[in-house]
C-alpha cells in the first residue's frame, strides 16, 4: 500500500538539506520496523518521493512524502495498480494487513528528533505521485528585527501587488531568463501569526505561492522583489521561513487527498 505522510521539519534539522534529509528519513523508516517495499535489482532501495524539496534553513509544518509500504491495499486496485505492485515483486493479496495510520505514524515518530513529526498518514493510489500534483504552497516569512524596519508593510504590499507585472531575472546553473512572478503570487499579506515568531523576528508575512514543476516561486524571491520595489536593500539572512501547507489542483490542501485508514 502506498501512503502519503504529512510531517514537520522544524528546529535544527532545518539545516539538513533535502537529499540528506531523504537519506535520514529512510534510515528512520528502517529503524521503525515498518514494512517498506523495495525496488528490484542489484541494489534495492526504498520507494520514497517527497512532494517538493525544502531548501536548507527553511522549516515546514507540511512536508509530504509518498512511501510504498509492503502492506495489503484493501482499497480498489486497477489492473495497472496490480501490475505496478508485481513489478516491485509484491502480490497484494499475500501482504500482511496494514496497521492503523496512527500506529504507523507513532512507529516513525519514535525514531525522529524533536521537530520532525508525522502528523497524518493517508492511503493514496499505487501510481499517484505527490510531486506531480503540487501546484501551490503557503509560507510564513518571519522578518528579522531591523530588516525593513521603517517600512509600513501593509501599504508596501498593496503597492507591490498593484504592479501589473513583476519581472525578475532568474539565473540558474543551466539558464538565464526573465520571469514575471506577479501571476505566481496567489496571496501576500502581513501575518498576524507574528506571535509564533522566533525570538528577534517580530513581524511576519503570509504568502501563498505557485509551486511545483510547472511554475515554482520561492518566498525569498518575493521578499527580494518587494525590496527592489521599495528601493530597499535585500538581506537573505534576515528571513526565517516556515512552509505551512501544500496544495494540489485549484487549492486543494494535500492533507485532504487520499483515504484515511
Amino acid at each position: 500500500m502506498k501512503v502519503r505522510m504529512k510531517m514537520t521539519k522544524t528546529g535544527p534539522i532545518r539545516y539538513v538539506g533535502h537529499l540528506d534529509f531523504m537519506r535520514f528519513f529512510q534510515k528512520a523508516l528502517r529503524r521503525s520496523g515498518i514494512l517498506t517495499a523495495f525496488s528490484r535489482g542489484y541494489s534495492p532501495h526504498m520507494l520514497i518521493s517527497f512532494a517538493s524539496p525544502l531548501g536548507v534553513g527553511l522549516e515546514s509544518l507540511a512536508e509530504y512524502v509518498d512511501v510504498d509500504l509492503a502492506y495489503r491495499d484493501d482499497f480498489e486496485l486497477s489492473e495497472s495498480d496490480v501490475q505496478h505492485l508485481k513489478n516491485m515483486g509484491l502480490e497484494n493479496e499475500e501482504l500482511p494487513p496494514v496497521p492503523a495510520s496512527e500506529v504507523l505514524a507513532e512507529m516513525v515518530n519514535r525514531e525522529m528528533p524533536e521537530g520532525v513529526r508525522v502528523l497524518l498518514m493517508r492511503r493514496v493510489g499505487v501510481t499517484d505521485k505527490a510531486m506531480a500534483l503540487v501546484t501551490g504552497a503557503d509560507y510564513l516569512v518571519f522578518l528579522k528585527n531591523g530588516f525593513l524596519k521603517d517600512t509600513d508593510l501593509a501599504s508596501a504590499i498593496a503597492s507591490f501587488l498593484a504592479e501589473k507585472s513583476i519581472v525578475i531575472h532568474k539565473v540558474t546553473p543551466k539558464s538565464e531568463s526573465d520571469v514575471d512572478i506577479r501571476p505566481l503570487i496567489r496571496e501576500l499579506a502581513v501575518s498576524n501569526k507574528g506571535a509564533a515568531a522566533p525570538e528577534g523576528y517580530e513581524r511576519a508575512l503570509f504568502m501563498s505561492l505557485s509551486a511545483g514543476s510547472a511554475a515554482n516561486l520561492k518566498p525569498e524571491t518575493v521578499v527580494e522583489a518587494l525590496c527592489r520595489h521599495l528601493g530597499q536593500e535585500y538581506d537573505p539572512l534576515a528571513l526565517r521561513i516556515l512552509r505551512t501547507e501544500m496544495y494540489a489542483g485549484d487549492k486543494k490542501p494535500f492533507s485532504e487527498i487520499g483515504e484515511a485508514f
Binding site: D20, Q26, K27, A197
Partner: protein, 663 residues
C-alpha cells in the same frame, strides 16, 4: 512562542551555539548542529548537578571525516556508560566557519550540548595522521585554550591525545598535558575518574599530572628532560623525577569480546565518508609487513568472538537503520571464523537489502565467491595491494605475496566476471631501484595479458586497470624506522619513471596511472620521526595560515618551508638521513611490546632480502607475547611449526635468533 497545527507544537527557540545568520552563510551547516540519532544527551543530568566530569572528544578534521572514525565512538560509548561523566564530540570547523569564529570571537563548542569546550574538564584529541597537526592548534586556539601546556591555568581543560601518532608524540610535546599510549578500553576510565576525585579534593593540575604519570601508558611530556648532541641527534631522554617512569608501556585490551562497543552507533544527518555500520572483527595483524606501523603497534592479534560479532551486527543495524555493514580489521581474511561470520551476515541481511562490504580481503577463491554474493560483479572493481613492483622488493618489505599469488588471484577474478582491477603500490621504499619502479608497469601489463588469455566470448569487454602509487613514509616502531626518505623532486622522478614505463606497455590504454602529492609526503615524514624542536614550527605555520594540510586544496607547503626557515630547523635532518641503529630515537622511551631488537633484526633481514614468516606460520619472537595473548597463545599446528622456542621475553631479547633464511 508556540503554534499549533495538527497537535504539533512549533518551537522556534534555538539552543545552537551558532546564530542563524552564520549557519545560513556557511557550507554544510548540519556539521555543527549535533543532535544526531543515538548521540548522548545528558543535559538534564548536567542541569541537576549530577555530571562531575565533562569530556570533549575531538577528531581534528572536518565532520564528515571525524564522524567516520570508529575509535571516537568507542570512547564516547565507554565514557558515557559512567553515570557522572558526559563525553561529547568536537570536530574541526571548516575554513569558512573558522574565519567567522575568529572574527566574531565565537568560542569552539561541543556538538551535543553546544557548550564551549573551554568549560570542559578534558579535551581529548585523536591523532590519526601527521597532517592534522596544524588543526590541533586551531582547536585549541578557537576554544580559547593556551596553545602551550605550560601556560594553562587551573580552569583550563586537561588537553590529552591518543591514537597512532602518539607513538611518536614528541613534535606535539609542547601542546599536550599528556599522551595516552594504548587502547582506551584499558585505563581511560581511571584517568577520568582520577581527575574527578583529585578536583573534588582541591588538588592542582600539576598534582594531577604527576599522579597520572604513575598510571601505566600515560606520558606527561613536561616531566621529562631532553638533551641533544651537537649533530642534532638525541643525547638523552630522562624523567625529571625518580617516581616518573623512564619507559611508558602501551596499554592493550586483551579481551575485546567483553570491551565496550557502540551497539547503537551515531547516525549522521549528512553523508559522511564512512556512511555505514562498522564492525571491528579483530585488532592486530599476523602479517609483519615491514612498512606497516599499525601491524606492529596493534600486536598481538586479538579476535572478537563470533557470537559477539553476530550480536553486535544485529544491534548496530537495527539501532541505526544503516543500509550497509563493513567489516573492519587490518586483514579480514586472517579472522579465523570468517566463513561462519559471512554466512551469518549474508543469510540474515541480504534479504533485508543490506549491503555487506569487505575491505582488506586477500583475493582467493573463497573471497571471490563471497564477493560475488554481496556485490554486483559488473560494477565493482577488485583491489590488490602488491605494494612493490618486483618480487625482490616485495621480499624486502615482507609483503608475503608472490607474483604467482597475484596472477592466480586476478585470473580467478577475471573468470568470475570482473574486469576492473585496482593496484596499489608504494614508491620510495628502502632499496628501491629503477627496475622496481618499472616493475609496477610490467606487473600491470602481465595482469592485462592474463585477462586477454580468456576467450573473447567469455570476457566482459575491455579490462580496466588502475595503478595508484603513494610515496612511502617511514614510521616509528617499524623495521623501516631507520630508513632514509628522499627529496620531493626525487619522488616525482620516480612517479615519472612509472608513468613512462606504463605508457610504453602494449596495453597502456587499459592502464590508468595515478600518483600521490610529493610535498605533503615530505612534511608527513618530518613529523612522523620528528622531535620536540618541531613544536615551534607547527606553531609558526598555524599562526601564518596552515590549516587542513591533509586536504590538497588547502595544503600550503610554502608556509611550512617558511616556518622551518624561521625556526632555524633543517627539515632534511629528519628525512634524508639513514639513522644508525644505535641512535637514540625520540620514541624509544615507549614500549609497544614488540622489541627494538626484533625491529633491528627485521631491518637487517630486509636489507638482505630475507622474508620473515607470519605469526601463524612461525613465531619470530617479536616480543608482543608479553601481553599474554594473541596468536602466540593459539593452538599450534600438529607439526609443531609454531611452537614458541623461547621461555621469556628477557631471554628472547638477550638471545640471538637463528631462523632459517628462505634463500
Amino acid at each position: 512562542m508556540i503554534m499549533n497545527n495538527n497537535g504539533f507544537t512549533y518551537n522556534s527557540k534555538s539552543h545552537l551555539a551558532l546564530p542563524d545568520d552564520v549557519l545560513l552563510k556557511i557550507e554544510k551547516p548540519a556539521r555543527y548542529i549535533g543532535g544526531e540519532v543515538n548521540s548522548v544527551d545528558k543535559r538534564e543530568l548536567l542541569e541537576s548537578g549530577k555530571i562531575s566530569v565533562r569530556y570533549a572528544m575531538c577528531f581534528p578534521d572536518v565532520y564528515e571525516i571525524g564522524m567516520s572514525h570508529l575509535g571516537i565512538q568507542i570512547i564516547c560509548e565507554q565514557l558515557n556508560r559512567l553515570p557522572d561523566v558526559w563525553c561529547e564530540r568536537v570536530y574541526s570547523p571548516w575554513p569558512d566557519l573558522h574565519s567567522i569564529m575568529k572574527d566574531r570571537g565565537i568560542p569552539l563548542f561541543a556538538l551535543e550540548s553546544q557548550d564551549p569546550v573551554k568549560d570542559f574538564d578534558f579535551l581529548g584529541i585523536t591523532l590519526q595522521y601527521e597532517l592534522c597537526y596544524a588543526n590541533i592548534l586551531q582547536i585549541l586556539d578557537l576554544a580559547g585554550i593556551p596553545l602551550h601546556a605550560a601556560d594553562r591555568g587551573e580552569d583550563c581543560p586537561i588537553v590529552c591525545a591518543g591514537g597512532p601518532c602518539t607513538y611518536n608524540p614528541e613534535p606535539l610535546a609542547d601542546f599536550f598535558d599528556f599522551f595516552y599510549i594504548g587502547e582506551s578500553e584499558t585505563v581511560m576510565n581511571d584517568i577520568v575518574l582520577l581527575r574527578r576525585d583529585m578536583k573534588a579534593a582541591g588538588r592542582s593540575r600539576a598534582e594531577y599530572l604527576r599522579e597520572l604519570s604513575h598510571i601505566p601508558g600515560m606520558y606527561v611530556p613536561s616531566l621529562y628532560d631532553v638533551a641533544y648532541n651537537e649533530d642534532g641527534t638525541l643525547a638523552s631522554f630522562e624523567p625529571k623525577y625518580p617516581d616518573v617512569p623512564a619507559r611508558v608501556v602501551k596499554q592493550v585490551c586483551m579481551n575485546l569480546s567483553e570491551a565496550p562497543y557502540p551497539e547503537k552507533p551515531l547516525v549522521p544527518y549528512i553523508k559522511v565518508t564512512q556512511d555505514r555500520v562498522v564492525l571491528e572483527i579483530m585488532r592486530g595483524c599476523i602479517r609483519g609487513c615491514r612498512f606497516c606501523q599499525a601491524g606492529m603497534l596493534y600486536r598481538p592479534l586479538r579476535e572478537k568472538s563470533l557470537e559477539m560479532l553476530k550480536r553486535e551486527a544485529d544491534l548496530m543495524l537495527s539501532g541505526t537503520g544503516q543500509e550497509e555493514i563493513s567489516l573492519s580489521s587490518l586483514s579480514s581474511s586472517d579472522y579465523s571464523k570468517l566463513p561462519e561470520l559471512l554466512d551469518y551476515l549474508i543469510g540474515k541481511f541480504r534479504v533485508r537489502s543490506i549491503n555487506i562490504s569487505l575491505p582488506s580481503l586477500r583475493i582467493d577463491n573463497f573471497s571471490l565467491d563471497v564477493m560475488k554474493q554481496v556485490q554486483d560483479v559488473k560494477k565493482s572493481s577488485l583491489t590488490f595491494a602488491p605494494e612493490a613492483g618486483t618480487q625482490r622488493l616485495r621480499d624486502v618489505i615482507n609483503k608475503g605475496i608472490t607474483e604467482a599469488d597475484i596472477m592466480k588471484g586476478s585470473s580467478a577474478a577475471f573468470r568470475g566476471g570482473w574486469n576492473k582491477v585496482k593496484l596499489y603500490f608504494m614508491l620510495g621504499l628502502p632499496t628501491e631501484t629503477e627496475e622496481d619502479m618499472k616493475g609496477i608497469a610490467h606487473l600491470a601489463q602481465a595482469i592485462c595479458d592474463n585477462y586477454y588469455e580468456i576467450p573473447k566470448a567469455e570476457r566482459n569487454g575491455k579490462c580496466e586497470i588502475t595503478v595508484s602509487t603513494s610515496f612511502f613514509v617511514p614510521k616509528p616502531f617499524t623495521p623501516f624506522q631507520w630508513a632514509p626518505m628522499y627529496r620531493q623532486d626525487d619522488y616525482l622522478t620516480r612517479a615519472q619513471i612509472v608513468k613512462n614505463e606504463i605508457r610504453s606497455m602494449k596495453n597502456q590504454k587499459s592502464i590508468r596511472y595515478m600518483w600521490h602529492e610529493a610535498n605533503s609526503t615530505v612534511l608527513e615524514g618530518v613529523f612522523a620521526r620528528g622531535d620536540r624542536r618541531l613544536g615551534d614550527v607547527i606553531e609558526y605555520a598555524y599562526r601564518h595560515g596552515a590549516l587542513f594540510d591533509a586536504w590538497t586544496d588547502y595544503f600550503r607547503m610554502d608556509i611550512w618551508m617558511e616556518a622551518f626557515a624561521a625556526c632555524g630547523i633543517d627539515h632534511e635532518f629528519y628525512t634524508l638521513r639513514e639513522r644508525p641503529v644505535d641512535e637514540l630515537l625520540p620514541w624509544d622511551f615507549i614500549d609497544i611490546g614488540v622489541t627494538r631488537r626484533f625491529m633491528e633484526r627485521e631491518w637487517k633481514r630486509a636489507k638482505e632480502g630475507f622474508t620473515t614468516p607470519n605469526c601463524r606460520e612461525k613465531c619470530s619472537g617479536c616480543g608482543a607475547r608479553i601481553f599474554g595473548g594473541g596468536v602466540c597463545f593459539e593452538e599450534r599446528h600438529d607439526d609443531g611449526s609454531s611452537v614458541i622456542s623461547w621461555k621469556s621475553r628477557d631471554e628472547e631479547t638477550g638471545a640471538d635468533h637463528k631462523e632459517e633464511d628462505p634463500a
